[in-house]
Subunit: 409 residues, 2 copies
């Protein structure tokens, strides 16, 4: 069951001027469910994205990068679930290209102005005919108030759809930010996997938009893990439609930029955490906060070692304060000159370990009290400097195994 | 259930001249089970070992290294289960030291001539009083034919004890090699975890023994993984008692060395594979063979990425040829300039993927046939050079979660 995560309220999802969305049931993997999304952007829109680093990246990821590089102005995004079009070679590239060509015909733009996204099973041919057959219905239904349905249309094994809106005021004008995401392991080659789309009607120059998408990704989708697997299809797109009637943000140090940056990052973080809360089989939401490092990179090493350890994750599932497993993960995280004498480990507000061993004040019942909560913070103080990093993850349960053993059946 | 692993036959475990072993029920964690082992070595014995790289290494690991460095000649090894004496700070060091002092008194040697080993729960004080109380019984029972009981005495969550013997002939004389090991995740901080002891009556110089222990470890215990966690206590010790009545091996390129090296490595590999076969919750034994790499290191990267992926491991548990998960793991293994076009992926004898996608000849039923077997080889050809590496692992089942969620209860 998702951890403190409920479906979005349709009334609280705000349209973004300059974007209309259309959904279809194309029967890509199963009949009778929304599995195709078209997002149509206005003429002023600018788009920037970050993509998986997996060398076996999917055909649509390769094509997205090429179309963004062509810089003709993106006018539409097409997303299908049910098939990842990954591990599909040259044939997969042709099918992704055909998807763009067919969408472009319907939307009266160039194929290079369309970005394709796929999520689903890897290593199986994309059912192009079904996508082509479904596109007219999606285009016919394009409207601004479709974010709630759009969030549903991109789900795969997600139990709860993920969407959020936020508004800020810039120079007296209202700027809206709405985002949707899918994923139930952050990074999960089978579901191929994490997709996130955040749109704002702010006016943002292309270079600043590129800076902003990286800033937001590094503080949201790049800070979560369910199982440590990096998907072939992970993509996070940031769209600025430019229709809010405010001045263009072209300076990444301006007050307007900072306000927009924090709001976009907040939306992205909420979506990223929703993916963890809906992590496959999750029963707990864990924040791993590492501080006192010599550099942020080593804090991330330690945080991910803890967040990836199957032993730590099964102990949290069992609400068992078997905290030696966390010390062990810190010890093998890869900091060669780590001085374990200086480390402090906290579970919630409870000091568990210091001076290389169990804290004198620690009592099992205090650890047990924290472990029974649904949201738990593990805090590690390295005693090496002032850098810090935070990672969000979930526990590891019977249901994780069940979901992943039975995914294709 | 362990995969093709049965308990050793007591009659096939051969004594090694120059070693006697004694076992006691010391009640360290639970009453009524063998949990304390003393190995007494003759005066000619030489010992070399490799230890965990975990920075939170246990007190006994630190002390073992110090006693080996003192070079006074090791005369005894003391192993307890039920408590890892890890994450125990200075107090843990004192308790490990006291164990050596008490054993040395009984065995009439110096405390620095005793190597201590512990395995069990981390972060809890070693019950020194029980160990001290148990030592006299273990010492009273010392005898050469105790290897079967010794293998049982070092078990924790192991379902099957692990021991094997082998003999070779050097210059007409028989040389015996007998080894025992414990572990049920290779590397598993909770059980803290992998211990291996291989003894031979061959006569081996100290420098050659050091070379040999590394050679054997790199081809056995360093090639296995159950869950990717590196224990605080992992230790592999090689003992040469020097009592076989053969010439000393002091040249690591001699024919005698090569014969002994291959036999010791064979024993170590059998023990290491037994740990995987008895991996927590294991239902399949998987060999991940990566070849055609530019260097062995990158082959190991790819092999471990596959072997550590929870998604790959759950698919094998389900006997589901969801092989895109393997491609994804290859893609994120960390080879920056990997050309996916050149990769070939085989499941058993079946070619699954080439040219960046599914092989034209591949049929799901062929993959399904291989996946149903209990022992499966995944072969990856990288097409970059002639280096290779092999890793052994097991699948990831409900029982893994169950065992690790309930370990302390």
């Amino acid at each position: 069951m998702p951890v403190n995560l409920t479906p979005p309220n349709p009334d609280q999802l705000l349209p973004v001027k300059g974007i209309v969305l259309g959904i279809a049931e194309a029967g890509i993997k199963k009949a009778g469910r929304k599995d195709l999304l078209v997002m149509r952007l206005g003429d002023k829109a600018r788009v920037a994205g970050v993509f998986t680093l997996n060398r076996f990246c999917a055909a649509p990821v390769t094509l997205c990068k090429a179309h963004l590089a062509a810089a003709k102005g993106i006018r539409a995004l097409v997303v299908n679930t049910g098939n990842a079009n990954a591990g599909t070679g040259e044939d997969g590239m042709n099918r992704a290209r055909s998807t763009c060509i067919e969408a472009a015909k319907l939307l009266d733009c160039d194929a290079e102005q369309v970005l394709p996204f796929s999520t689903g099973v890897i290593l199986e041919p994309l059912p192009l005919d079904r996508i082509v057959a479904g596109l007219p219905a999606a285009v016919a239904g394009l409207k601004a108030a479709n974010w709630f349905d759009a969030a549903q249309a991109i789900m795969t094994t997600d139990l709860v759809s993920k969407a959020v809106s936020k508004q800020i005021t810039l120079d007296g004008a209202t700027v809206t930010i709405t985002g949707i995401a899918k994923g139930s392991g952050m990074i999960h080659p089978n579901m191929a996997t994490m997709l996130g789309y955040v749109a704002t009607d702010a006016v943002v120059s292309q270079p600043v938009l590129e800076t902003l998408v990286r800033h937001a990704a590094d503080r949201s989708f790049n800070c979560i893990t369910v199982d440590g697997d990096t998907s072939t299809n992970d993509s996070f797109m940031l769209i600025a439609t430019g229709e809010a009637g405010v001045a263009e943000i072209a300076d990444a140090s301006s007050a307007h930029y900072l306000a927009l940056r924090d709001a976009v990052t907040d939306v992205a973080r909420t979506l990223a955490q929703a993916i963890v809360r809906d992590g496959e089989g999750a029963t707990k939401f864990m924040t791993i906060a590492v501080e006192g490092g010599a550099a942020e990179a080593e804090c991330r090493l330690v945080a991910y070692a803890i967040a990836h350890s199957p032993l730590v994750k099964t102990a949290f599932f069992a609400s068992d304060p078997n905290l030696g497993r966390i010390l062990a993960a810190i010890g093998y995280a890869g900091i060669a000159d780590l001085d374990v004498e200086k480390i402090k480990l906290y579970l919630g507000d409870v000091l568990v370990a210091e001076h290389g061993g169990r804290a004198a004040s620690y009592q099992e019942q205090d650890g047990q009290r924290v472990m029974k909560e649904a949201e738990i913070t593990v805090r590690v103080v390295l005693g090496r400097g002032s850098a810090a990093a935070t990672v969000w993850t979930c526990d590891f349960s019977y249901d994780y195994v069940k979901i992943n053993a039975e995914y294709r059946s």
